[in-house]
């Protein structure tokens, strides 16, 4: 069907055409207090189309795959492209190297489809049950188990026609502890490509319980500047923010403070950041991106020096660079984007901190790529003489990404690449923590 639609678009007057077909199955179960809340099972298909003529672009997509609807979409897309304006950077990628064989990447688990719904439901039930056995846990937000399998087919008018399959599964649990008016909550999860990548119900339950109860009886603290440590999940959002600042789209739109800084030192020597679409067996891995450009390993920052912006074909042409295989359909997306780990364990980093705040959870959206400003609500654990001493709530942390990258004093060894955007525990020399 993908190749047929490319053909149709060319017949309708397009000079170039690209068609994506995605087909998938979804299973998800939410259980709470030992009962099923929601059980979702379905299959879906959708098609995405891009046409270009005279450097003018139009897009269309549909989940209605009837012939008449698709024919109409193709015809109208070509008509709309005529009304757009020529853009010298528009167009499909030049034909290039062949992408790797998907079967070498370990991104599809053939066994996932044979896991019975009953097993999935029981896994979620068991995870919650184990957590509720801990008497400090006073309520459950439920446990969820999700599995997905999908096939991506990409065809274009330059003769590209390839497909690959991916699977993904996750197990998560949200808990509360404390009474109605002094309640705390947190969650934990495990995710991966293969069913056997999932952590055991015991492990997920244990971590979710620990993360929740450690927040009980928080104190407020005075507004101050002090050393701040990020747990891996926190470094993960910081990397997500860094990604949005080095995305080629943001760079050509001048919507990032790093737009004119390539080649400059924007962090200290501990900061090496990579984007790698070829690491086997990870959720961020794929043979080629949404435009058919082979995925690769890109060094984004090397010991603090900003080396490379991540691009799709359009951003790369805008910036006079090469695509890095980061097209995600609507623009630029990460593959496995991570901060390279250091040698010390998180325990060692905490033990070497005389006084500081370990950030364990954040709330809100206060990230501004245009300025690099960070300002978020946070929950933390007070660190005193190398030991965790009490939880802290109702604080915000604020700073600037460039200053943070220049002020990283320690990078841990505890990197979990399954998060997609990831990084280990880090210690930042000083940030503003607002409290009372």
């Amino acid at each position: 069907m993908a190749a047929d639609l490319v053909e149709k678009a060319l017949k309708a007057g397009a000079e170039e055409a690209e068609v994506h077909v995605a087909e998938g199955t979804e299973f998800s179960v939410d259980v709470r207090l030992g009962r099923i809340e929601n059980l979702i099972q379905a299959g879906s298909r959708s098609v995405d189309l891009r046409v270009i003529l005279d450097r003018r672009t139009a897009h269309a997509s549909s989940s209605d795959l009837s012939k008449d609807v698709l024919n109409g979409l193709v015809r109208r897309a070509v008509e709309r492209a005529r009304l757009a304006e020529p853009d010298p950077c528009a167009g499909l990628p030049e034909s290039g190297d062949a992408p790797p064989d998907p079967s070498t990447l370990g991104i599809y688990d053939p066994e996932l489809s044979s896991v019975e719904p009953r097993t999935k439901i029981e896994t979620a039930m068991l995870t919650e049950k184990l957590a509720l056995e801990d008497r400090r846990i006073t309520n459950s937000q439920g446990a969820s188990l999700e599995t997905n399998a999908s096939t991506v087919i990409l065809a274009n008018s330059k003769g590209f026609l390839r497909d690959y399959g991916v699977t993904h599964c996750s197990l998560s649990l949200g808990l509360q502890a404390g009474g109605t008016n002094d309640r705390v909550e947190d969650f934990w999860f495990s995710s991966g490509v293969r069913w056997k990548d999932l952590a055991s119900p015991e492990a997920v339950a244990r971590t979710a319980v620990e993360r929740t109860v450690r927040l009980l009886r928080p104190k407020k603290i005075k507004t101050q500047r002090l050393p701040v440590l990020f747990e891996p999940l926190m470094t993960s959002w910081l990397m997500g923010f860094l990604f949005s600042c080095v995305s080629g789209t943001a760079v050509f739109q001048k919507a990032t403070f790093l737009a004119d800084r390539r080649g400059e030192k924007v962090g200290n020597g501990l900061v090496t950041v990579l984007d790698d679409g070829l690491l086997p067996g990870l959720p961020g891995t794929r043979p080629f991106d949404a435009e058919g450009v082979p995925c690769r390993r890109t060094t984004v920052m090397d010991q603090g020096v900003l080396k490379r912006f991540l691009c799709d074909v359009y951003a790369s042409r805008k910036l006079g660079l090469k695509s890095t295989g980061n097209a995600d359909g609507g623009g630029v997306g990460p593959n496995n984007f991570y901060l390279r780990p250091g040698g010390r364990s998180a325990e060692d980093i905490i033990a070497s901190t005389d006084r500081g705040l370990l950030i364990v959870k954040t709330l809100g959206h206060g990230l501004n790529p245009v300025t690099g400003e960070v300002s978020r609500g946070a929950f933390g654990l007070w660190v005193e003489k190398g030991e965790i001493s009490f939880p802290v709530s109702e604080i915000t942390i604020s700073g600037n990404l460039e200053r943070i990258l220049n002020d990283i004093q320690d990078v841990g060894s505890d990197l979990d690449l399954a998060l997609g955007l990831s990084g280990p525990t880090i210690k930042i020399g000083e940030m503003t923590v607002a409290g009372t």
């Binding site: 309520n139 501004n368 300025t371 503003t432």
Partner: protein
């Protein structure tokens, strides 16, 4: 019933609903939708891209004893619909089959709001003109403006909802959104501003306060003003929320935790507080899906319930919740028409529509005058809340209040608090109720739905402001 819309006859629907009940389900429901969405984007001085998206699909929900089975398909053939209904039914495997009531067509009580110039039917050239007008106005507003991005999108959603209690209802929901993003640069500093217009309206609404020129000026002014703004202070202080945009504060701090799923699960801090005082006597909060043409408005919710203006907090007392069917049944409370879903792939959840703090009696200027040293919060980036009541929201721009007067501009600061505490501290409510930009979207459990928030000028006597001490 318009039989051409989905090619489904009443008997097809009844059959699918029956199949949903075939394994002992108590309730079955079909949600069928077709959405046609078009959008265009102007950037770098050219109309760069246009898109058309079609969404067609059917979701089947079967409930038994509070447990939901859900399946969906984008293939509306009898075979595919039956397969989905059987899959959804299996959540209730083991019981005896039940019969649905015969379907009876319901007409939404209100007429659709008439659109004089429906955007989905307007020629692309007309929309290109509006986008270009907005773009040019923003580009020339201030010499510091160096980048503009304007997008216009419209959507027409047709839905059909049928359930085993005999309900059959159709609705037609238009949506329009014009958004303008401006980046400004001066002396090596960059800032951005955003504004927009729209709602469940036609292109005729893009005039006066929502004209392309007004939207462009609003976005460009925000970016230019921010170039002059400095970092905010940090610590506890009084915060005055500007009328209109500050509605997002109520959305986060109060609205989410009054969504009845969090109450029936007892995870919300409000679960045991219905009928009890939760805030200052100045505070009255409603959620009203029936406001004409608002972005969050609808004539029937996504479970087919006709909504009503729902009181949530009245003079500080918690009096209502936002209900969907499952929650209302478990809590034995009346339906309010707040069961909403992102699309046919999602089971409904209790959600806000247009939430607002009702007008109070204070003159907005007196509210500012009452503060010796504090923060005046004007524009927002959004926020987040957890069930425990802890919430944050981020102010994109504001002013300092010094000795009762607005002084220097401050930028990008996050406020944090716990909702019961903040509700008690809402000591002054202004008489100037206004609503925020008609471009808002709310996310919950991975589902996005359009919403609007509103509020008059409002004083919170003390909260934590997360500025930075440096500068």
């Amino acid at each position: 019933m318009d039989e051409n819309l989905f090619g489904l006859k009443k008997s097809d629907l009844e059959q699918a609903l029956n199949l949903g009940l075939s394994k002992g389900g108590e309730f079955s429901e079909l949600f069928v939708e077709r959405r046609a969405h078009t959008s265009l984007l102007m950037e770098d001085d050219i109309i760069k891209d246009t898109a058309e998206n079609v969404v067609l699909g059917l979701g089947v929900r079967v409930i038994r004893d509070g447990q939901t089975g859900y399946a969906y398909t984008s293939d509306l053939s009898e075979e595919a619909v039956h397969a989905a209904a059987s899959t959804a039914a299996s959540v209730a495997a083991g019981g005896a089959p039940r019969k649905p009531f015969p379907l009876k067509e319901t007409i939404p009580v209100r007429e659709p709001d008439p659109l004089r110039i429906p955007s989905h039917a307007a020629p692309l050239e007309v929309k290109i003109r509006l986008v270009r007008e907005t773009y040019d106005a923003a580009r020339h507003f201030d010499p510091a403006v160096n980048k503009v991005k304007v997008s216009l999108s419209d959507c027409l959603q047709n839905v059909l909802i049928a359930n085993s209690e005999g309900l059959l209802v159709e609705d037609r929901r238009p949506m329009l959104r014009l958004g303008c993003l401006v980046l400004a640069e001066k002396g090596g500093r960059r800032e951005s501003g955003f504004s927009g217009g729209g709602g469940r309206v036609g292109l005729e609404a893009l005039s006066e306060a929502m004209s392309p020129a007004a939207i462009a000026a609003d976005a460009a002014r925000e970016a230019a003003d921010l170039l002059e703004a400095r970092d905010a202070p940090a610590g506890e202080m009084p915060v005055v929320l500007a009328a209109g945009h500050s509605g997002v504060f109520i959305h986060e701090a109060v609205g989410h935790l009054l969504e009845a799923d969090f109450v029936r699960k007892k995870t919300s801090v409000f679960w045991d507080k219905l009928g009890r005082r939760v805030g200052s006597g100045e505070v009255t909060i409603f959620d009203d899906p029936t406001l004409p043409s608002f972005r969050g408005s609808y004539r029937v919710d996504d479970e087919g319930t006709v909504p009503s203006k729902t009181p949530l907090v009245e003079k500080g007392v918690l009096t209502g919740l936002l209900q969907d069917r499952i929650s209302a049944r478990i809590l034995r409370r009346p339906l309010t028409g707040h069961g909403r879903r992102q699309d046919f792939t999602c089971p409904p959840l209790p959600r806000m529509s247009n939430i607002f703090v009702d007008r109070g009696e204070f003159d907005p200027e007196d509210i500012i005058r009452s503060v010796k040293k504090g923060l005046y919060a004007e524009r927002f980036l959004g926020g987040q809340v957890e069930d425990s009541g802890k919430f944050t929201f981020t102010v994109s721009s504001g002013r300092l209040i010094e000795n009762g007067r607005l002084t220097r501009r401050v930028k990008h600061v996050t406020l944090i608090g716990s909702n019961l505490d903040i509700l008690r501290k809402m000591t002054m409510v202004g008489s100037d109720l206004a609503f925020g930009l008609p471009t808002g979207t709310c996310s919950k459990d991975g589902q996005d739905v359009p919403v609007t928030d509103g509020c008059p000028t409002l004083k919170v006597s003390s909260m934590t402001v997360g500025g930075s001490l440096e500068d």
